[in-house]
Symmetry: C2
Subunit: 390 residues, 2 copies
Amino acid sequence: MPISKKVSTYLESASWIRKLFEAGNKMRQDGQGPVYDFSIGNPDLDPPPKFKEALKEVALDQRPGQHKYMANVGYLETRQAVATSLSKDFHLPFVPEQIIMTVGAGGAMNTALKALIDPGDEVIIVVPYFVEYKFYIENHGGVPVMAAATPGFDLDPDAIERKITENTRVVLINNPNNPTGVVYPQETIDQLGARLELHNKHRDRPIFLIDDAPYRKLVYDMDTCPSVFHAYPHALMGTSHSKDLGIPGERIGFLAISPQCVDWQRVAAAAAFTNRTLGFVNAPALMQRVVAKVQEELIDLEWYRRKRDRLVAALSRMGYNVPHPKGAFYIFPKAPGGDDIAFIEALQRMRVLAVPGTGFGMPGYFRISYCVNDDIIEGALPVFEKARKM
Amino acid sequence: MPISKKVSTYLESASWIRKLFEAGNKMRQDGQGPVYDFSIGNPDLDPPPKFKEALKEVALDQRPGQHKYMANVGYLETRQAVATSLSKDFHLPFVPEQIIMTVGAGGAMNTALKALIDPGDEVIIVVPYFVEYKFYIENHGGVPVMAAATPGFDLDPDAIERKITENTRVVLINNPNNPTGVVYPQETIDQLGARLELHNKHRDRPIFLIDDAPYRKLVYDMDTCPSVFHAYPHALMGTSHSKDLGIPGERIGFLAISPQCVDWQRVAAAAAFTNRTLGFVNAPALMQRVVAKVQEELIDLEWYRRKRDRLVAALSRMGYNVPHPKGAFYIFPKAPGGDDIAFIEALQRMRVLAVPGTGFGMPGYFRISYCVNDDIIEGALPVFEKARKM
């Protein structure tokens, strides 16, 4: 075997999501009719008109030097726009020096983890978890430690606290959550923050709380998404414009360090360094200039809300056990019969693609990603009904 | 100290290049007159007109779905354009499945190294080396092993061979070379390839030869840059359009796997996986579509050649020991007096920025990056003359 043994092992157990994505691609080309693909968070919704205007403006700008390297952390102008927007959202005085522009939220997570952990350090994540977290943590020699969510998929501060050891360096949460669509209430995040602060009293260096928050602006039935920044000082948020502007292929996001974080200047310097040395170097120049102009823009939330409501109502009527998620674009129902893999395979035979909960460390459930056009939803409903009864 | 201990150690000994870049930025704002900055490979030359046309065309394209995720390896259309171009350049039958679009050459290097090495594996690099290689290798638990170049900075196959152990997994070369500007002749690369093939006879898996080749189209006094693909079957090339199109801030490049590489399908699958799980996910969508249209375009090589000729002639007249580099946009002369750091500090006091050879593992030399406007060169020549005599 010519490749890395570790990567070879990973490949054997590779992400269900992408496997299904590729399967979906193949199915699409087989000429056997439509494919109802709910397997991946790749929005069918186009970016808002103001994004397109900003892109046009930036692309037609003829001033020289627009595609050069800038500082590894990104353009000052972009970081200023982000800091201004975050200050408004979180009522905290963010400055550009606390913002590192990154290659999406995936870039932000790796930049932050590499900056904070040493080999052997433990990073607590919550089950069910986003499939990539184990890779992200192990990339930098970290050890993923799993803590259960509550039965309703809320954060469970008790469960997290039980997993804290002297090697714990980071607690990584994902709010709004992928795969459940749950939005953690501020109260629960506050409780987690309070527990961490108690632990810090007996430690040389604080535990960091990282929020992976690419869906933070995709919340329904509430005004704003609850935040780690109000709950705990030593907090970082990684996010991207993949979902709020609908541009995941462009790889533009940022890492924000709380103004209240211990020695945030040092954390920012470390992240600037790791953003560079992990090979990102800097977030794409052109998109940095575009997003600086549209920090307050948002894709059509109603487009998502309607789909959520339609799907939750229809699946509930069919007898699925469906929670009513308040964020992101995921639904995480119980798999009828209890065997999520068998259930997903049955759906796939009827040309409906979804992801088994096993992929997120949570067998017995399955994930529906509803960022798809209405005809996909309407076409799949009869299949979901049929599968329910099998 | 709140951050990773390892990163903290790195920060203490951080890259001279970026330190000087920041120093240059500060100097620029001090109002004390012009700064002559030769410290970083950030071309002042704008992209070719056809790049700008292609960018305009792509940015104004109103078809839906243009900013979505694509397969992690990139758009098929882009990989096809790259494969066609490489097939022509190297007279080898590249197919799109051998191309992974990456976040620049830095992304390509990390994607390739992570795909190929396990912790403890050794990667041989040539001294003087590009400053980031040690970080790139150590990111994935690899051990950098240094092999000397010849006195004229050519590859030294003997020196490399002496460093091969049973743990050697990769030989990483950089052609044309940063910091020396040397272009390795095909003959030397062929010799290296032949040595590696002899070693492979006694090994379970072959040693990989990776060429970091972002400057491959910036060669003077020759038609094309010599290549690893002609010298050795198990070869990969990482490159970017940062230099040939003059767009380093956009982070667009690719990794190409030789059609003759052992089990290239497996290597490609591993690289697709690591490109995703390192957090790059995919190369920026919009720039992928742009570069697909301009694979045969090139910035104005004459712009660089004139600067090289002017600088080499002027510095030689002043008594500097200057080789005559055939590629990239670097000159690597001996530091007068022998103490490169003292010499660079003296230059800096006269507002000329360059990088001491110590930063590349080669004390006693210094690097001039001549991708700057003519007024920078002309303004700095008197300073170089004065420093020569100090």
